[in-house]
């Protein structure tokens, strides 16, 4: 019940805003901020009450919704969704602060922002396929409005493209959901769309699994976005207002990776296993392609947008390493990307507010004029590259570690992405911050004000916190990841399970990272001996 309340609190706030007079702009902003802050604090409370040792769903609520179809309002959080949930409330709060200077239609803007927040939170807690789909589609509407109304010059094109791309994928997912619903009904006699029940009982032949997997894959791959489905992202990012970009990068893209972890892997473990090489190569192409394209961008925001394609390639690669390191790395990198890229978008937004341009060539030598801004930018840029001691390093390191266990070549290719990231970020940083102040328009730029510091500094604290002491974050999903990995291990594929007829997962062999490491050692030992002989 508590979880439901937190999820719907922003929507209630939005409804409240509807009845506030349009003219009282200050009151509207303060109300929106109060709601967002309250929501964030409440979600922190969830985190502190979260039991790290269990992989089970927590804070569950399960009440009938459409009884005729066996559809329930079933919500809950586990280690995979907890951090994403907290990050959503956190970024919503940051975004409300960052949007303080919105000039037109402030009330509508805040309503859209809060509604969006509920939509996103709903996606992460939904434990019923039908409900998941409802939230998944629902959050499109406010995001579409945010890009389309408060965006840049080509906003209409970008917003429709965003909407249609996502809709294509998700509607095919709907077909797969329906198929699963009737399949479960046929095989077990229970009419349900409950995700946990389906995870336990879905057993389709490999051929069918592959089709279903593809349907889900398309929906999530467009959202992530993976190469070659990424073309909507640069448009949407460039045209969206600053806060829209932050939410887009920080939360919306994470829904895609979350979908892979929640649906593709546990529903279709065997198909996932089969598709690993395809995903790996697509991710690697995405990593390198995104980085190379970033390098030649002249627009700051577009550069950050393409860097997202590259970073999300890492996350996907980590997930499909299908081992604890990879998935843990992917989960923490999810959060890191939300923080670092979110901060980058905020910083680009700050300079855009002052100069109304984002062209790199317009700037130069800003470090002398805006020292505080330059320091913040530097920290965020370095974290985006993955400098040790900052958050990006932890994630990328774990992912590469995981991938290396699977295939050394993939790891090597992916590592080149880190190097390229250093190239495009540092080169951009140099052109914007250092050199001479050539452009006279830049001479009198004001440094960051207090409000802007309030949006960026919390993110910087998190950058160092995760970079230096990631344990509190890593602990939340440890149990869930171990459980998930045991599910996608070839030993536990469904046909075998039916033989043993035991509860899947509970009695499955749980592999801890330590065990995995020792196993790897054992595997490598004989090889070394052979070489010596």
């Amino acid at each position: 019940m508590f979880l439901t309340l937190i999820t719907f609190l922003p929507l209630i706030g939005a409804l409240f805003l509807v009845f506030m007079p349009k003219e009282s702009v200050a009151a509207i902003k303060q109300t929106a901020l109060a709601v967002a802050v309250a929501d964030f604090l409440l979600s922190i409370f969830l985190w502190t009450n979260f039991d790290n040792t269990s992989h089970k769903m927590q804070f569950e609520l399960n009440v009938p919704w459409i009884e005729a179809w066996g559809i329930n309002f079933h919500v809950g959080l586990d280690g995979i969704s907890l951090l994403l949930y907290v990050m959503t409330t956190f970024l919503t709060m940051i975004c409300v602060i960052a949007s303080w200077d919105v000039k037109i239609h402030v009330r509508e803007y805040m309503i859209a922002m809060l509604t969006l927040s509920t939509g996103m939170l709903g996606v992460f807690i939904a434990l019923d396929l039908f409900m998941f789909y409802v939230f998944w589609e629902f959050q499109l509407i406010p995001m579409y409005i945010i890009i389309g109304v408060w965006g840049g010059p080509r906003r209409v094109y970008a917003s429709i493209k965003f909407f249609l791309f996502t809709a294509v994928g998700s509607l095919l997912m709907l077909v797969a959901i329906l198929w699963i619903y009737f399949h479960i009904q046929e095989t077990t006699g229970v009419a349900t769309a409950d995700i946990l029940y389906i995870t336990e009982h879905l057993s389709a032949p490999l051929g069918t699994q592959k089709w279903l997997w593809m349907a889900f894959f398309l929906a999530f791959a467009i959202k992530v976005p993976m190469f070659p489905f990424h073309t909507w992202l640069p448009d949407a990012h460039v045209e969206a207002p600053t806060a829209g970009s932050v939410i887009l990068a920080g939360v919306l893209l994470k829904m895609g990776t979350y979908g892979f972890l929640r649906f593709n892997l546990p529903f279709f473990p065997q198909a996932s296993y089969e598709f690993v090489p395809m995903i790996a190569w697509l991710s690697i192409i995405g990593i390198i392609y995104g980085a190379l394209v970033s390098m030649v961008q002249v627009d700051l925001k577009k550069l950050v947008a393409y860097s997202s394609v590259s970073h999300l390639g890492f996350v996907m690669l980590g997930i499909f390493a299908l081992n604890p390191y990879g998935i843990q790395g992917a989960l923490i990198q999810n959060i890191n990307h939300g923080i670092s890229t979110g901060a980058l978008f905020l910083l680009v937004g700050i300079i855009y507010d002052r100069r109304h341009t984002r062209l790199i060539s317009e700037f130069g030598g800003l470090a002398k004029i805006m020292p505080k801004y330059a320091i913040c930018f530097m920290i965020v840029a370095l974290s985006s590259i993955g400098l040790p001691g900052m958050n990006g390093f932890v994630g990328e390191f774990l992912i590469l570690l995981g991938v290396f266990q699977v295939n050394g070549l993939w790891a090597a290719c992916a590592t080149s992405g880190v190097i390229l990231a250093a190239c495009y970020i540092l080169w951009m940083f140099q052109r914007v911050m250092f050199l001479e102040v050539k452009n006279p328009k830049n001479m009198n730029l004001k440094d960051m004000n207090v409000r802007e510091m309030f949006t960026v500094v919390p993110l910087i604290i998190l950058i160092f916190w995760i970079g230096l002491y990631p344990k509190p974050f890593m602990d939340t999903f440890d149990a869930s990841v171990t459980h998930l990995v045991s599910k996608v291990s070839p030993d536990n594929f469904r046909p075998k399970q039916e033989h043993n007829n035991d509860q899947h997962g509970e009695h499955a062999r749980l592999i801890t990272p330590a065990e995995m490491a020792s196993l790897n050692q054992k595997l490598q030992m004989p090889k070394k001996f052979l070489i010596k002989e």
Partner: protein, 480 residues
């Protein structure tokens, strides 16, 4: 000379027929009162609404269901009861929309309300008939009332053109329908649907070319009435030319009635012969979706756009007929109910924004509506997204329902076509949203927020959202 007395039909059950009788009584009362009532039509509206309410109540007089009357040619069952509710609701909403519209446009004919009621009688007959003669009767009552209603703005050339076009093409299609019925009668020896269904159990009868030909002609006839491709050419012109409340009415009531008959004939009478008509109907469904949606993208007039959108919706609903299972039947009911409220709400807004002489109907005229009349724009957005099938609105549940019926039947390819079409349809529904939210107003909106029309809009919004978020009770009713 011995004259054999003609035996009186044994099974005339007047209670089963109560809705038709009640509504006929009220419709004639409207005609009579109109003679003495002078120029004030308020009383007529009141009588019509009471009549529709009484009709809906009297429909439940027959218990237990299913009950039959007129030698099994008229049925009271779950499907017909639910449809009678849809019809009375849609007629009532159409009448409510008409009041202020007629005042603005200067339509003073009292027959207007009587014709809507007569049309409703035809729809009830159509949804309750289990005999092809009765179906024909229903279709003719509906069509003739609609021909007149379409052309009721006598001094407007668009309206006249629409009525004439509708009449000529409609008469042609009726010919096809009748010819098809004749062939079916000729090859089976029955007009009663139950008896025909019994007859076609026999595999030999199924392969009779005359019967197959009859089915094809029936599909053409029905296909015209529901405006499916390639029998849709009348729809855009008629939708644009007809008075706006009648356009809304046409898009919901008569269409639902035609689908009810469609379902009874194909899904309930000829399910055994599905392999022979399934492919034809699937093709028609896919073509309707594609041409409807692609056509709608091109339109600049909102009524024309909605005409094309209704063609594509005919395609979606046909999937329920093709699925021919019990889920298909109940999804048809749910879809039509959700569609009714959405369409009437949407047309309510179109009427509010329209000006005298059917002006101000271009999509451009909606520019910046969101910042002058935010509630209207938000309502419009809700209706459009619901038509597109986006959660959490009624249209999504309706589509979900139909798709699940089809998937249960294994019609995955058809559903994939349907969902891809939904994406196309988002494009033009969002185009209106773009104008409302993302463009600056071109001219000031001179609109009068008339209470009855607003009332219909708010009912529409309420039900569209309510059926989207809490569809449970309606689904339970529909899937009896």
């Amino acid at each position: 000379m011995n004259v054999e007395p003609i035996p009186a039909p044994e099974s005339i059950d007047l209670i089963a027929l109560a809705p038709v009788i009640v509504l006929s009584f009220f419709a004639m009362m409207v005609l009579v009162v109109d003679l003495f009532g002078g120029r004030n039509k308020t009383l007529l509206v009141f009588i019509s609404l009471v009549g529709l309410l009484m009709t809906a109540i009297s429909a439940f007089a027959k218990n237990p269901i299913p009950a039959y009357s007129f030698n099994d040619s008229y049925i009271v069952d779950h499907l017909s009861l639910f449809f009678i509710c849809i019809f009375t609701i849609s007629s009532a909403l159409a009448i409510l929309l008409s009041v202020e519209y007629n005042e603005r446009e200067g339509i003073r004919a009292g027959e207007y309300y009587a014709l809507i009621l007569f049309c409703t009688i035809g729809m009830i007959l159509l949804a309750s008939s289990t005999d092809m003669i009765m179906i024909f009767l229903g279709i003719e009552i509906v069509s003739i009332s609609l021909y007149v209603l379409t052309g009721i703005r006598r001094d407007n050339h668009r309206s006249n053109e629409a009525a004439l076009k509708y009449f000529l093409l409609g008469a042609f299609a009726t010919g096809f329908l009748l010819y098809g019925m004749t062939l079916v009668y000729g090859s089976t020896g029955h007009t009663n649907l139950f008896k025909i269904a019994e007859f076609v159990q026999n595999p030999e009868a199924q392969s009779n070319p005359l019967l197959l030909m009859g089915l094809v002609l029936l599909i053409i006839g029905f296909g015209f009435k529901v405006a499916s491709v390639p029998f849709h050419m009348w729809a855009p012109d008629v939708y644009q030319g007809a008075p706006t409340p009648i356009t809304a009415f046409m898009a919901v009531g008569p269409k639902a009635a035609a689908f009810a008959a469609f379902f009874r004939v194909f899904a309930e009478t000829f399910p055994e012969m599905a392999p022979s008509w399934e492919i034809l109907l699937s093709t028609i469904a896919v073509l309707s979706m594609f041409f409807g949606n692609l056509g709608a993208i091109m339109q600049t007039n909102i009524k024309r756009m909605l005409a094309f959108s209704s063609i594509s919706h005919a395609g979606y609903i046909l999937i329920a007929v093709i699925a021919k299972n019990s889920l298909g039947g109940s999804s048809l009911l749910f879809y039509m109910l959700a569609y009714a409220f959405t369409i009437f709400g949407l047309f309510g807004i179109i009427i509010i924004l329209g000006r005298k002489g059917e002006e101000n109907l271009e999509i451009e005229n909606y520019s910046g509506l969101a910042y002058r009349h935010p509630i209207l724009a938000l309502s419009m957005t809700v209706f459009l997204l619901s038509l597109g099938g986006l959660p959490p609105f009624a249209g999504f549940i309706a589509k979900f329902y139909i798709f699940s019926a089809a998937i249960q039947q294994g019609l995955i390819t058809l559903v994939i076509f349907a969902v891809l079409n939904s994406v196309i349809s988002f494009y033009y529904y969002l185009k209106v949203v773009v104008f409302m939210y993302m463009k600056e107003p071109e001219a000031e909106f001179q609109i009068s927020l008339t209470p009855l029309t607003l009332f219909v809009v708010f009912i529409g919004v309420f039900v569209t959202i309510n059926m989207g978020i809490f569809p449970g009770s309606i689904i339970a009713l529909a899937s009896h």
